[in-house]
């Protein structure tokens, strides 16, 4: 038996999208709060130097908003991510904990400082002297950024360590300072300023005093713009630090799918920041709220989905496949690859959570076994229902009902690991056949779309020529 966990499968969207949805909300909330902490520090420094106490009114306003928006939503979705990844990807989480337990411990210390900091910052305005408050705000900002820095080290290790060292040493430093750490940190540091500016506008839109509104906007807008350009530059650097499997996915699937949305968001955000900088009085809630939604949904969703997708076939460190199988030996951690063991004995024998009555394939249970195996081997990355949004398998096979060819796909390219973004899945022939029979039967029984029924007759060709 291998040390595998039960597979959780959420029909239709897969556990990957559950993760993605929680993750996006979390990223919007947490980037806003980290970015805002630096905005506060910048604003308060100006208030202190130029003696403009009315700016503190804005800080208080934004701070209270942040407490409700970011800290509550952020602290609900943060543990939400933990729950979701623990069920979706138990071995991925285990791998990360075994590498980074002290990094996470450190992150929690900074997070505590951050949470206490934001309360202190909001409620101590006017109660302590200005210089002390300013120092407090800067400490809050640095603690916030430290949480981001530590998390980014972990996230970018998930993409890949970038060299053989870590596999040999297993050392936390080799894992943390991986090849795309700095680039990734840059992208997020830049974008946190953009998020903070966009949310800052949301708060500034409600300011009545035109002078205050103008002076606040004129500080926030350029910070957001600089952050945005820095983030884009770092993004190009980031692209250079990716492994080959990521580049293939990016060029073949992701850029065609998300490229336009990303350029649109970039242009829209730049135009918005420039416009508000130029005409602060035009900033109204009617503009600020939709812009916030557009930028956070269209901007963050593609970014997070891309990063999650580009890692395929791995979930972490290029040694754990997304379907929980250990892809290779990691001597530094005493880990042994499992692909060949599975090829020899089969998942039905080695996976501890296969129901006992499904461990041997019979004509009666073949489809059921196929379904279970498809869930274990494929469903972390693919939904199993036709039409489902997470690259569903029936559609990926273009509705094929030919068991022999589906089996050839699993027993050929997948067995040899010929497709860079999919795991090498090498299974004994009876298991391959069971999966193929299951997929073929799903396609056999799929609800037919109107006009589809005649595909396969010679008329299909004629229709093509007609067009």
């Amino acid at each position: 038996m291998l040390g595998m966990y039960p597979t959780f499968y959420v029909p239709y969207i897969g556990s990957a999208w559950v993760m993605g949805i929680i993750g996006v909300i979390h990223v919007v909330a947490s980037h806003t709060s980290v970015g805002a902490s630096f905005l506060f520090a910048a604003l308060e420094t100006k208030a202190y130097r130029d003696d403009e106490p009315q700016i503190m009114v804005f800080i208080k306003r934004y701070g209270v908003f942040l407490l409700v928006f970011s800290y509550i939503i952020g602290s609900i979705t943060g543990p939400g991510i933990w729950y979701a990844i623990t069920v979706a990807s138990p071995r991925g989480v285990s791998g990360l904990i075994h590498n980074f337990v002290w990094v996470w411990a450190a992150e929690w210390v900074f997070f505590t400082v951050e949470v206490i900091g934001v309360y202190a910052l909001v409620y101590l305005i006017g109660k302590v002297d200005k210089l002390t408050h300013l120092k407090l705000t800067w400490s809050f900002a640095l603690a916030s950024w430290a949480t981001m820095l530590l998390i980014v080290g972990i996230l970018s290790f998930m993409m890949w360590p970038g060299s053989e060292n870590w596999y040999q040493t297993g050392s936390t430093n080799d894992a943390f300072y991986n090849i795309n750490f700095f680039a990734h940190l840059g992208v997020r540091t830049g974008s946190m300023f953009v998020m903070a500016a966009v949310v800052g506008f949301l708060v500034a839109a409600g300011i009545k005093d035109p002078d205050l509104k103008r002076s606040v906007v004129r500080i926030i807008a350029p910070i957001g713009l600089l952050g945005g350009f820095f983030s884009v530059m770092m993004f190009f650097y980031y692209l250079r630090t990716l492994p080959d499997n990521a580049t293939v996915l990016l060029n073949s699937y992701l850029v065609p799918q998300y490229g336009k949305a990303m350029i649109f968001v970039f242009l829209a955000t730049t135009a918005y920041l420039l416009f508000v900088w130029w005409k602060p009085q035009w900033l109204k809630l009617g503009i600020a709220v939709p812009m916030f939604l557009v930028i956070s949904v269209l901007g963050v969703w593609p970014e997070e989905r891309m990063r999650e997708t580009m890692r395929k076939p791995y979930v972490a460190g290029q040694y754990i496949y997304s379907n929980q199988v250990l892809a290779r030996d990691v001597p530094g951690k005493g880990i042994e690859g499992e692909v060949d063991k599975i090829a020899e004995k089969g998942l039905l024998q080695l996976h501890p959570f296969i129901p006992e009555q499904l461990r041997t394939i019979t004509p009666e249970n073949k489809l059921q076994v196929g379904e279970v195996l498809a869930k274990v081997a494929c469903a972390n990355c693919h939904a199993l229902e036709p039409g489902a949004p997470l690259r569903n398998i029936p559609d990926k096979f273009h509705g094929a009902t030919d068991e022999d060819l589906i089996a050839a796909f699993i027993g050929g390219p997948l067995k040899h690991g010929a497709i860079p973004y999919m795991p090498r899945i090498d299974l004994p022939q009876p298991e391959v056949d069971a999966i193929a029979a299951y997929i073929a039967s799903v396609n056999q029984n799929r609800p037919k779309a109107a006009g589809d029924e005649e595909a396969g007759t010679p008329t299909a060709l004629l229709e093509k020529k007609d067009n």
Binding site: S252, D402, F409, G411, G412, P413, K415, I419, L461
Partner: protein
């Protein structure tokens, strides 16, 4: 109505291919059946025969005999070997190969 025109069209096509003297293939190639059989192939070569996966060739508008020969060679696993295509060609019958070659060769080369 639509069904009827399709049916007539299908019959016409059958008639045309049956009498076409240029197609000197042993089997009468049925590109519609080829399209159906090739569904799994579309995973890599795409339905329009223009692949988006690096290292995977476009098949749209390729010479029909060449396609049939290529598939036969992969299936034989002597003349051409490839971990992917050797496995994919193995289950194909001669008729399948003729049909699939007819389908891909009939597609426009620009994928439109």
């Amino acid at each position: 109505m639509l069904r009827n025109t399709r049916l007539v069209g299908g019959l016409l096509l059958l008639a045309v291919t049956a009498y076409a003297p240029g197609l000197a293939h042993a089997q009468m190639a049925d590109s519609g059946a080829g399209k159906k059989r090739a569904a799994v192939c579309f995973a890599c070569h795409s339905e329009n025969g223009i692949s988006i996966i690096p290292g995977t060739p476009n098949l749209a508008g390729q010479d029909q005999t060449y396609l049939a020969n290529a598939l036969t060679a992969y299936r034989g696993a002597q003349l051409r070997q490839d971990p992917t295509m050797t496995a994919m060609a193995k289950p194909l019958s001669d008729q399948d190969i003729a049909n699939i070659a007819a389908y891909f060769s009939s597609l426009p080369r620009d994928g439109k």
